[in-house]
């Protein structure tokens, strides 16, 4: 499956891990969803950074730039070496739309990372997602 803009989706099995994570977040209470998104992005960031260091930021910047074209809601989202700065951004957007946009961003990021690195990190990153969100529904 290919997304608009030419970025190819991951295989359907891999895509399932992301979609499952997104669904679990949607199932959370409204006020927990933002934290869950933050938690997911942070976990992926830390795992990728542990192996690739500054290359993570370069690749993420490139991916974010592409995603912003498809999802203008991401316009003010940015990342630094310590991770994706979601806090300020997410307070000003509709959480449901944000979940979709972040889902798309994560899909593209993992797809690009996998494509560049021969999917060396893909299993580890999928595992990270499968454990999340750690927040239980209240």
């Amino acid at each position: 499956m290919e997304l608009a803009g030419g970025i190819e989706r991951r295989s359907s099995s891999e895509q399932t891990a992301i979609e499952s994570w997104v669904e679990r977040i949607r199932a959370l209470a409204m006020e927990s969803r933002a934290d869950a998104l933050h938690e997911g992005l942070d976990a992926l960031w830390q795992r990728a950074w542990r192996t690739m260091g500054e290359s993570t930021l370069l690749i993420f910047d490139r991916v974010l730039s592409e995603s912003k074209k498809r999802n203008p809601i991401l316009e003010s989202l940015y990342a630094e070496e310590d991770g994706v700065h979601l806090d300020t951004w997410i307070h000003g957007v509709d959480i449901d739309i944000a979940i979709d946009a972040i889902g798309d961003l994560v899909t593209t990021f993992l797809s690009t990372l996998g494509d560049l690195t021969g999917d060396i990190l893909t299993p580890a990153l999928d595992r990270e997602l499968s454990r999340l969100p750690s927040i239980s529904e209240r």
Binding site: G53, E54, S55, G118, I120
Partner: protein, 644 residues
């Protein structure tokens, strides 16, 4: 050694290379080689984009060209994807490659791709990423360093260009310019400044005292050049302040006005000298004043040489010492007279010609004595102007002296003429009285003596008055002759016959030497006889008793030259220029006569278009004159004296 430890060592080696290797290409290649060795790779390839375009560096061990081409194609595709300029679909074959971006400060400028012999694991990816990040950081820093170096170089070039432009601008100014910093250190000096004051620019330079918090406008500052010559600078300075009012630097402009001041002084001297000389009419005093005036304004000694028939002779000198006198070489004086051009010998002796009425009348030598005093090239014109004025004053003084002499001669002439006329008239009156009072029977012999005395007196009065009238006619340009063919023999004989009694009276021998074939002359015979009589009378007057006078004539081309020679004492140097002047009486005022004889000779010969001259020595004098021979064309038998 454990795998981890080995990889750490290899990572350390890569870090060391990143610090040491200068050239980017070499650096990347060595890093790729080490990376390939550390991870047991088929290949390691880097792609980089720079201002010169894309470049690819490959390190491999066993890849075929096709395999390498496929690997490079994959890297280029991934790199373009990273740059966002291309979207590629994932391909299974691409999974054997691992690509990590090369970038810094969020800018991707390249990518690094490794291809493992075996499938690479996460540790390999971490190792590759670490190397890529370090390599990117090193390349970025080197690029930044290069940019900074280029910027520094560019600023240096611009500063040099600005400095060069400013130097060119300052060099174009007609004044010396110094720019000093706030510590009075020299920042810039233009060409004129270096020419006037070559170095050093420190506390010893008088210009530095002109730099201060207050501007200075056109202050005259004395200074000494490196060759110890003195001069004067006209200095202006302006302090440059920052917005806070603190003095940042100072600009000094200056002009060497030594020449201008000297020129002003010399012009003033010329004016004052002219005034002083104008008040002097006496010749000796004029010469003395001319040599005295230039000291010390122009020179330390001055010598006036007059050009005489014997050559150059010192007429007056002021301030001259033996040491200085040796500096005036006779050769230089003669060269000055000959060339009529001022001679500057060294820079302390200057000889200039004295020219009056287009004739060189002498030289004026100026000498500097002191070691720090010398003539500058621009002095020459002013000194020549002084010499020109001096020559005019000398000539005027000479004319004044001659005029005074002529006036004296005229007064003496009047006295002589009056005395002679009175004596002659008295003689006539006495004879007439004697004749009147004599009884009728008085004998005829006595009466005849009285009549002869009256006749001689009348003849002498006639000659005297004729000479005066002739001289007046010649002077007024009214003197006329009636020229026609005449025998030169007859003319000479008539003159000799007329003067024979006077010669016999002084026991002087008159000798005539005429060739038989002497041609006739075209002349007014009466006037030529008069001229010859004047020359013979002059000779008799100055030849001692018992002497000899020769009269000769000979053909000289289209002319006949007449010569009258005596063996008298000759004519003195002083008298020679004035021999043909009116009222001049040779040697002494006691010499009898009117002083008109030779002047009339000159007027008569001029009227015949002839030439008159003389040769003299202490053993005698010969006067020559020429007349046209009959064969010469005479257009008009009635000729007038010059000026008619």
């Amino acid at each position: 050694m454990s795998t981890k430890r080995r990889k750490l060592d290899q990572l350390w080696e890569i870090s060391r290379i990143l610090m040491r290797v200068d050239d980017d290409g070499t650096l990347v290649r060595r890093v790729l080689d080490l990376l390939r060795e550390a991870l047991h790779l088929h290949s390691a390839i880097a792609i980089m984009q720079s201002e010169h375009g894309l470049s690819t560096i490959v390190s491999h061990s066993d890849r075929t060209s096709e395999q390498l081409e496929a690997a490079q194609l994959n890297l280029r595709s991934k790199f373009e994807r990273l740059l966002g300029s291309r979207h590629n679909a994932r391909t299974p074959s691409a999974q054997r490659f691992v690509v990590v971006p090369l970038g810094e400060r969020r800018r991707i400028f390249g990518a690094l791709q490794v291809e493992g012999i075996q499938r690479l694991d996460e540790l390999d990816l971490a190792f590759t990423s670490t190397v890529a990040n370090q390599l990117a950081l090193a390349l970025d820093r080197r690029a930044v360093s290069r940019i900074r170096q280029r910027a520094v170089e560019q600023r240096r070039i611009e500063a040099e260009q600005q400095s060069s432009w400013l130097q060119m601008l300052l060099d174009g100014l007609p004044v010396g310019v110094l720019i000093l910093d706030d510590r009075n250190q020299l920042v810039m000096a233009n060409h004129q400044a270096r020419a006037i004051w070559p170095s050093p620019y420190d506390e010893t330079c008088p210009l530095f005292k002109c730099v201060g918090p207050e501007a200075i406008a056109e202050r005259e500052v004395p200074f000494s050049r490196q060759d110890n010559t003195k001069g004067t600078l006209l200095v202006s300075s302006t302090p440059i302040r920052d917005p806070g009012g603190r003095m940042m630097s100072g600009i000094v402009t200056f002009l060497d006005i030594t020449q201008r001041k000297r020129s002003e002084r010399l012009h003033r001297f010329l004016s004052e000298a002219a005034q002083t000389l104008a008040e002097i009419t006496e010749h000796e005093q004029t010469a003395a004043t001319i040599t005295r005036l230039p000291i010390p304004e122009i020179c330390d000694a001055c010598v006036l040489h007059r050009l005489t028939s014997a050559g150059l002779e010192i007429e007056h000198a002021a301030g001259l010492s033996d040491g200085l006198a040796t500096r005036i070489a006779r050769r230089d004086l003669e060269e000055t007279v000959h060339s009529r051009v001022t001679q500057l010998r060294g820079d302390r002796t200057l000889i200039t010609p004295l020219i009056a009425h287009d004739e060189v009348i002498g030289t004026l030598s100026f000498l500097c004595a002191g070691p720090d005093r010398r003539f500058e090239p621009y002095d020459t014109a002013l000194i020549e102007e002084f010499a020109h004025r001096a020559a005019t004053f000398i000539e005027n003084a000479r004319l004044h002296r001659d005029t005074q002499s002529a006036v004296r001669s005229r007064d003496e002439l009047l006295a002589v003429v009056s005395h002679d006329l009175r004596n002659l008239v008295s003689s006539v009156l006495l004879s007439v009285t004697a004749l009147t009072a004599a009884p009728d029977h008085d004998d005829r012999r006595r009466s005849r003596r009285h009549l002869e005395r009256i006749h001689r007196s009348a003849e002498r009065m006639h000659r005297l008055t004729t000479d005066l009238l002739d001289a007046a006619s010649i002077e007024a340009g009214r003197f006329t002759i009636r020229a026609r063919p005449a025998s030169a023999h007859a003319i000479v004989n008539d003159a000799v016959e007329a003067l024979t009694p006077d010669a016999m009276h002084k026991s002087i021998e008159l000798r005539v030497e005429l060739p038989i074939d002497l041609p006739p002359v075209v002349a007014d015979a009466t006037r030529i006889v008069q001229a010859l009589c004047n020359l013979l009378g002059n000779g008799i007057k100055f030849t001692p008793p018992g002497g000899r006078i020769s009269i000769a004539a000979a053909r000289d081309s289209d002319f006949v030259r007449f010569s009258v020679s005596d063996n008298g004492p000759g004519i003195s140097d002083e008298d020679r220029p004035r021999v043909f002047d009116r009222f001049w009486r040779g040697g002494h005022t006691r010499t009898p006569g009117t002083g008109l004889g030779l002047s009339i000779v000159s007027g008569i010969v001029d009227a015949h278009h002839g030439k008159v001259w003389f040769e003299t020595s202490h053993t005698g004098t010969t006067f020559h004159f020429t007349l046209p021979a009959e064969t010469a064309t005479v257009e008009d038998t009635v000729a007038a004296a010059p000026g008619d």
